[in-house]
Amino acid sequence: MNIKDAQYMKDIEGKKIDLIKATVDDKVWFIPLDEGNRHYAEIQRQVADKKLTIKEAD
């Protein structure tokens, strides 16, 4: 899975982080912070392997 441009996103109230916006295989996805989600699990793996960093939310 080719993942790039990962960034945390805040909820609609702008109070808490509730997802990651990332480009996965050349498509923009909004990914929940849920270990059962395959995209999030892969992001966690790539972060642990130091292949990916996640930018802070704006």
């Binding site: 609609i12 990914i31 849920d34 989600n37």
Partner: protein, 338 residues
């Protein structure tokens, strides 16, 4: 098989714990559902869900191999309309020991509890499928169980090139390891098409701890090393019992809704309304998804943000993007695949 033999096999399986309906543990085994691509439309993705729902190719460490995958109605065995087709477009020039190409199908643990794994009455299952390839030879197929990180495998032979053949393989149940009763991976079916020696050296004829060396045990077919190679799969069924019975054809909507638990592409226009400085909308999935899905806009306005709340178990979602007025988001896709 004669009708009498079919009936006897069916009765034998029912006596072993199978059922007369919903007996197929594989979803979309007839390849009728292909939300990601239209029929006969190819994808060059070799490591992702891209055409057939619920079936995923996986390439490991390949440095040359390029393929196309598609759901096609150009060739299928009698009784089926569609098949899942792979064509080699760039051959793997020299098969290294760590190279692997396979087709996978994941089955959720919630749907496998009747197999009684982990106790002495663990049930046998029979995998049946139609296969066609330009390359004859011995191919491996294996079942991986995520709960205990275990594996079992077998092989089948393609005897005639470019000819549909039906294969049937029975696997014993794992009496030592239960399948976790949740929405995570329960079993994974692996059809091996190409495997280097790292994946073929470990004996894998009974349930045992997973090792990569067992994944393709017995596989010798040198698929993928020529652009002459193709591979088709159709009529995939995994059922309780020691006999393969006739494929269970389902109404399209039944299979579609089963698939939608894992992936759903919304084709209806979605319109948003203004909420403060945002445009929002709510919509529901056709069925509760397996887990909180990832979301992506298929076409239309790309939102600056896109959120899902209370998706499981409520099957609802909430989309927004910064806007002073409501905008339309034409289509979205939701992915909760294993």
């Amino acid at each position: 098989m004669s009708k009498a033999a079919e009936l006897a096999a069916l009765i034998a399986n029912v006596n072993k714990g199978s059922s007369l309906a919903n007996k197929n543990l594989v979803i979309n085994g007839a390849f009728t559902v292909h939300q990601r691509k239209a029929i006969n439309t190819t994808s060059t993705e070799n490591d992702n869900y891209a055409t057939a729902d619920r079936f995923k190719p996986s390439a490991s460490n390949t440095d040359n191999l390029a393929i196309t995958q598609q759901v096609t109605n150009s060739s299928a065995p009698v009784g089926f309309e569609n098949s899942y087709k792979f064509v080699v477009t760039t051959a793997e020039s020299a098969l290294a020991s760590d190279e692997l190409f396979r087709i996978m199908h994941f089955i959720e643990g919630l749907n496998l509890q009747h197999l009684n794994y982990g106790i002495s009455s663990a049930k046998r299952v029979t995998l049946s499928f139609w296969v066609r390839s330009s390359l004859t030879g011995t191919y491996a197929v294996s079942i991986y169980a995520g709960s205990g990180n275990k594996i079992i495998g077998s092989t089948y032979t393609i005897s005639s090139a470019d000819t549909w053949e039906k294969k049937e393989i029975t696997f014993v149940g794992d009496t030592a390891q239960a399948i976790t009763n949740d929405n995570t991976e329960g079993l994974r079916l692996n059809w091996i098409l190409m495997a280097g020696s790292d994946y073929t050296s470990g004996s894998n004829t009974s349930w045992g701890s997973y090792a990569a060396s067992k994944l393709a045990y017995g596989h010798t077919a040198a698929w993928g090393q020529s652009t002459d190679h193709d591979f088709y799969l159709a009529g995939v069924q995994l059922e309780v019992g020691e006999k393969a019975t006739e494929f269970e054809h389902e109404p399209y909507e039944t299979t579609f809704l089963k698939c939608a638990r894992y992936y759903f592409k919304n084709l209806a226009p979605v319109y948003t309304t203004q909420y403060g400085s945002n445009a929002i909308c709510t919509t529901e999935y056709p069925v509760p998804m397996r887990n909180t899905p990832s979301l992506s806009v298929v076409s239309g306005t790309s939102p600056t943000s896109f959120a899902a709340h209370n998706v499981v178990p409520y099957a609802s979602m909430y989309v927004y993007h910064a806007s002073s007025t409501g905008d339309a988001i034409a289509n979205y896709q939701a992915d909760a695949e294993l």
